[in-house]
């Protein structure tokens, strides 16, 4: 859908800072999240997990568990279907392993019992005979031809023959003559980088309540980023029909991509089917870290050539990602995003994915992009240092802009990178003085943003209020922004609109809440649904006034005659039209179903000052500013919130968060004590500067904003630390032992 000419109008609701509709429930403890409901007669489910990184399951004996008083069902992988579709099949064996366990924490069996403590005892009574297999957890090791093979026969046709069977994906992007480009460079820097896997770290563990009858009819209540995705996965994994499953998404306690897959819902349904009772499963934090999706781990080589005045002549990147124990395409996005911020004559990125004995990667905010852009922005920064150039000027000189052929193929339309860089340059932060052991870093960030399948129903109620029904779980305030767009379009006050999230039986299919798509795509569908309702209201009024439908216009929440020729009818408000809807033709509603496209890419720039303790390797973030093109910011508070939250997740990735595996292939830090997400005292204020470059693909100019902010912090902090420490850091996280070693040798 094209950018609306109307967008130049003065918005009345969009752009204000209204109070969110779900707020009171959330500050009073009333809001119901995944673990917050109970059902009559419900059982408690619990999952037995592999203690081994890689092993063949020789046998599972559940008889003792089944015999324990209070145990009502025990299930194993044999109780789930084996879908033909590879993606569904992977979900199935990840929910409950079949022949092999592929990582420490892989689910093997599950029980449902009358109490949590009986379930705990029953789990210990299940005897699994494992044949331990050699394991591999490092991506570079996994690519070696003699590496232990995680799964056989999973390579795509693009992978050259002769490589380790762990290599499943190969991709290559770019254009231009690299050799000629590098020949023109005055300085070439080539460096290798490694980054650890990190977890989304949502505070609410996965939780569900499920009920499935022998007739194949079932209900699930769960915290998820997509109830329709849960339905599809459960239907495939249990061999039941989608129409018979009704999935209701609870309030969701954070996701960041991590709740775009299914781990426990099919298991709870299988237990329920077997026991005939509703089954509740709530993951522990330990299970969340061991068995739900972290992001990829990576190993990368970047080579960039630059002239002495700062023009990049050629750039090449090779990315080796591991998405855990299953084939994974995240490297495709990393390879496409790596050089997206630059206008390059010659560029190439090559990507590989290798399987390792780690949990299945699940997308985490801008999946694939943060690590690739970290490596690229680190080399650009080092070139600036070596050549004595201002890093912002160099970014501006080489910045992608409208008409740039992007490093991943398409030619950019209207993008906000240059404006964002200029805003950073003009900001007082960029020229503030620095003290001893302090350094300033900056980085660009990028994300594609998605649209996708979306349904919205908008109902005009008889008292003149409006109900919006949409199908995407509200993860960061989207019910507010959707209500705002409906109010804007209809010309009614914000508080006259209530938006609810439908269960899967109450609205047509919606893609998951991902890729920063909801405010864009659901917003777009809401505006279209409102327009359909307006059209209907105008048509009713035309009948009342006995004039042509075209002679009625909608303005400020009222139907009005289009001009003098239409007669002199007093405007009719939405409430007046709604009140007599039964007399004029029945209930009034608008709806819109679309696979929305034209999401419009988003760029950001982050500035960061750090101080490094030269005696301990401790890094302190002194000052942090985020600049981002948000398109039209529908609710500026929540746009800022996305920018701040994403930045802090990136700060955690840069400094302390990591999956640490022992020699035995077991995860050593499956808890918030040693998986160290940033705490309040680690951080300064996160200042935000929103730029509003309208997205031509949305009627109000909206762009997704959620993902881009996690991209720049990795390099911004690494560049600041490298400058403060006087040496280039090439590994994340820059934990104090690593940094001290780099500084003192």
């Amino acid at each position: 859908m094209a950018f609306d000419a109307q967008a130049k109008r003065n918005f009345k609701v969009v752009g204000t800072r209204v109070t969110r509709p779900d707020g009171i429930d959330k500050v009073t403890g009333k809001a119901a999240y995944g673990a917050d409901i109970a059902a009559p007669g419900m059982l408690y489910g619990r999952i037995l997990r592999s203690p081994h990184a890689h092993a063949r399951i020789v046998s599972i004996d559940t008889s003792a568990a089944e015999a324990l008083a209070g145990v009502k069902a025990v299930v194993t992988g044999a109780d789930l279907a084996q879908p033909d579709d590879e993606d569904f099949a992977d979900v199935a064996i990840n929910c409950l392993a079949r022949d092999k366990v592929l990582y420490d924490g892989h689910a093997v069996a599950a029980v449902a019992a009358k109490s949590k403590s009986i379930a705990k005892q029953a789990i210990r009574l299940i005897k699994v005979d494992y044949e331990i297999l050699p394991h591999v957890t490092d991506v570079d090791a996994a690519m070696q031809p003699d590496a232990p093979v995680v799964q056989e026969g999973r390579a795509l046709e693009t992978v050259p023959a002769g490589m380790s069977q762990n290599v499943t994906t190969h991709c290559q992007f770019g254009h231009g003559d690299l050799d000629a480009g590098f020949a023109k460079a005055d300085k070439i820097i080539e460096r290798s980088f490694k980054t650890a896997a990190t977890h989304q770290g949502y505070i609410e563990p996965q939780a569900c309540m499920a009920s499935l009858g022998s007739d194949g009819r079932g209900e699930v209540w769960c915290c998820t980023q997509g109830q329709y995705m849960v339905r599809a996965n459960c239907a495939a994994v249990l061999g039941v029909e989608e129409s018979q499953l009704r999935i209701t998404s609870s309030e969701i306690g954070g996701g960041f991509g991590g709740k775009t897959s299914t781990f426990i819902e099919p298991v709870a349904l299988a237990l329920s089917r077997k026991s005939g009772k509703p089954v509740k499963i709530v993951m522990t934090r330990d299970e969340v870290l061991k068995a739900t999706g972290p992001t990829i781990s990576s190993s990368m080589d970047i080579k960039i050539g630059m002239t002495k005045d700062g023009r990049i002549t050629a750039a090449r990147g090779e990315l080796r990602y591991s998405g855990g124990a299953y084939p994974n395409g995240t490297v495709n996005m990393g390879a496409q995003a790596a050089f997206a911020a630059y206008d390059l004559e010659a560029v190439e990125t090559v990507g590989w994915n290798a399987m390792t004995n780690r949990p299945k990667e699940i997308p985490y905010r801008a999946p694939g992009a943060p690590t690739a852009i970290y490596a690229v922005e680190s080399v650009v920064d080092e070139l600036c240092q070596e050549l004595g150039l201002d890093p912002l000027d160099v970014r501006l000189m080489n910045a992608a802009r409208k008409g740039t052929v992007s490093s991943y193929g398409p030619t950019f339309n209207d993008i906000g990178l240059v404006a964002t860089l200029e805003a950073a340059k003009a900001h007082p932060h960029y020229t503030a003085p620095l003290g001893e052991n302090q350094g300033r870093g900056l980085s660009c960030g990028f994300w594609f943003n998605f649209g996708g399948n979306t349904c919205v129903s908008l109902n005009i109620n008889d008292d003149g209020t409006v109900g919006v029904v949409e199908g995407n779980p509200d993860i960061g305030g989207s019910r507010a922004s959707i209500s705002m767009m409906a109010a804007e379009e209809l010309g009614v006050p914000y508080d006259k609109v209530r938006t609810v999230i439908a269960d899967t039986s109450s609205l047509g299919f919606n893609d998951i809440t991902d890729g920063s798509r909801v405010t864009f795509a659901v917003g777009l569908a809401t505006i279209e649904a409102a327009r359909a309702a307006i059209k209907e209201m105008c048509s009713r009024v035309a009948k009342i006034w006995d004039i042509d439908e075209d002679a009625v216009i909608w303005e400020d929440g009222c139907a009005k005659p289009a001009g003098p020729n239409a007669g002199t009818h007093p405007p009719m408000t939405l409430a007046e039209i709604a009140a007599i809807a039964g007399k004029t033709g029945g209930p009034i509603a608008g709806h819109h179903e679309v696979n929305a496209d034209g999401a419009g890419v988003s760029f950001g720039v982050h500035l960061c000052d750090t101080e490094v303790d030269p005696e301990t390797g401790a890094t302190k973030i002194l000052r942090y500013t985020v600049f981002q093109d948000a398109g039209k910011a529908v609710h500026p508070d929540y746009v800022e919130g996305q920018m701040q939250g994403g930045a802090v997740q990136g700060i955690g990735w840069a400094l302390n968060e990591e999956y640490i595996y022992g020699e035995d292939g077991r995860l050593q830090n499956a808890g918030f004590l040693d998986y160290r997400v940033p705490v309040a005292s680690d951080l300064p204020d996160i200042e935000t500067v929103i730029l509003e470059i309208p997205n031509p693909g949305h009627p109000y100019g909206v762009r997704g904003v959620g993902e881009t902010p996690i991209v720049p912090p990795l390099a911004a902090i690494s560049n600041a630390v490298s400058r403060a420490a006087g040496g280039r850091m090439t590994e994340l996280p820059m934990s104090p032992p690593r940094l001290l070693k780099a500084m003192t040798g």
Binding site: R17, T19, R20, D22, G23, I24, K26, V27, T28, G29, K30, A31, A32, Y33, A35, D36, A38, K116, S117, Q200, G201, Y202, I203, E204, P205, E251, I252, G253, G254, G255, F256, V282, T284, R285, I475, G476, G477, H635, D637, Y638, E640, G641, Q644, G645, G646, A647, V648, Q649, G671, F672, L673, V677, P678, V679, A680, S681, L683, D685, I686
Partner: protein
């Protein structure tokens, strides 16, 4: 395992419950009393989502046994508002968008209230250190710190 009767006061109401010796106060609140406002983010005292007041001090209810609370005074998020009148912290958190997903919010509100009772005029640094045991993954803490300060200023002038 036998259940043990326990008498406490929760949000001003005398409350009796039965629990097992190894049940945490959090499990009692959530599973036995239906008070699900306190959340379990970790069960090991690392995230603060289950924060409640126990005899006037803020604790992680996951690190307290239910049986220990015999005779104790407990306050939870459910008792923070006075009927339909929100506590200033609750209202300011809403007004200043200091929450996104909201799952850490009950614990943060309980902990912030405990801070302001002890120290009505904290510095930003004091707020940040006091709340270090309350993880929030959505907001980056910025708006939370500012909201606590706005509420503190309002409460001081009230």
């Amino acid at each position: 395992m036998k259940t043990i009767p326990v008498e406490t006061t929760i949000n001003g109401d005398s409350t009796e419950f039965l629990c097992h010796a190894d049940e945490s106060l959090l499990d009692v609140l959530r599973d036995r009393l239906g008070m699900t406002g306190s959340k379990e983010g970790c069960g090991t005292g690392d995230c603060g989502a289950c924060s409640v007041m126990l005899n006037g001090r803020v604790v992680c209810s996951c690190l307290v046994l239910g049986v220990e609370t015999q005779g104790a005074e407990i306050e939870t998020i459910e008792g923070m508002a006075n009927g339909e009148e929100l506590h200033p912290l609750q209202r300011v958190f809403l007004e200043e968008a200091a929450l996104q997903c909201g799952v850490c919010t009950p614990g943060i509100l309980v902990a912030a209230k405990a801070l302001l009772e002890k120290n009505p005029d904290p510095t930003d640094t004091e707020v940040r250190y006091w709340l270090a045991g309350n993880l929030c993954r959505c907001t980056g803490y910025d708006k939370i710190i500012k909201a606590v300060q706005t509420a503190a200023a309002e409460m001081r002038s009230a």
